[in-house]
Symmetry: C2
Subunit: 205 residues, 2 copies
Amino acid sequence: MKKIPSAVIPHLSIYYRTILESRKNFLSSEELSKLTYFSPSQIRKDLGYFGQFGIPSKGYDTAKLKRSIEKILGLDRKWDVVLVGVGNLGTALLSYKGFIKQGFYIRCAFDNDKRKIGKKINSIVIQNIKDLERTIRRQNIRIAIIALPKDAVQDIVRRLVSCGVKAILNFAPIRPYVNNKKAAILNIDLSIELERLAYFLKRNT
Amino acid sequence: MKKIPSAVIPHLSIYYRTILESRKNFLSSEELSKLTYFSPSQIRKDLGYFGQFGIPSKGYDTAKLKRSIEKILGLDRKWDVVLVGVGNLGTALLSYKGFIKQGFYIRCAFDNDKRKIGKKINSIVIQNIKDLERTIRRQNIRIAIIALPKDAVQDIVRRLVSCGVKAILNFAPIRPYVNNKKAAILNIDLSIELERLAYFLKRNT
DNA sequence: TAGATTGTTAATCGATTAACAATC
DNA sequence: TAGATTGTTAATCGATTAACAATC
């Protein structure tokens, strides 16, 4: 089986979303290109990694393609998620409806602030961070979202990985280290994005 | 002048942050590589686009390099910012200290929800969305952060661009369209990231 | 001077685009 | 069958890595 380039996966997300919003039964790579700004070749190539979904002279059956992408991306099932860090951002994430739409369910949340522990947000009780390992093991959770100050990140990542977490979405401006690729880390780094903006503005205003 | 590849800018952000955290007066590309996981060649090449900052056999003077990167990225000045959409995420962003550290100051915030208008968060009074253009023009603001439901995004982007906004940081899962590159848009798309996680988990658990 | 590390050119790798035979 | 659009191979483009002469 040929290797899937990592750039392809985010493309699939965009094709998927575009199909959801389209009413058409068939879309050609040309039409998809208009909607997504990816080139028709790119689209055909990307889809080609996973099979033959199109019909020459007609295009892609949107209902079929939708189901295929769901299967490829793993959107056809649910995932249990733990949230660590219930500050401003963590609270916003707890209430974020988008997670559920993608099948991600935040099942428990942790903080080290005594004033927050025991409080309920969106029907989730905030637990003491010292119970992290016990709860994660008991509930067999594999995904963590962490919204922590950057100095706390590395230690929490170590603890999460030690109790079986396989994927971590990190919002702090730091790239935590994980031993022998035991888990995948995705960093959402607002600082880097802001600095890209600053660079752009510097030379365009 | 040679063209700067777009991938270089995010690298600079990481070099910058690494220098800030290091106590050393000099760092070689080899040492920076250990800290950033970029290859030594990559680091020398990236910096080479902007000048000659290193001293053969010694490495890079961290104080000088820090100032150089600040200048390149535009971190040596302040930027006024408008926030549109004060829901859960918008509120979290209003209180986010990281912006100020990067020189981004949220000067005003807008929402269309009557119950929010007039309220104060972090000393910013939430204004009626219908006053958007007037306020932005008067304060001469060039940067917007939008935390809106996706159906509201395209119209607000149009309005922002029409009154002179040059850069927009968008958190909704949609890629808004801007006429003739009148403004830069940076999309922080949590859906895409979640789907990357789902894809990873699908084949590793 | 000898040793170390830069800056830069050439080689490699990966992703995007172009071209076109296969096929509905 | 003729026209349209796929799937796939070849060409191009851009980013990363390797190599090494220049230099502190």
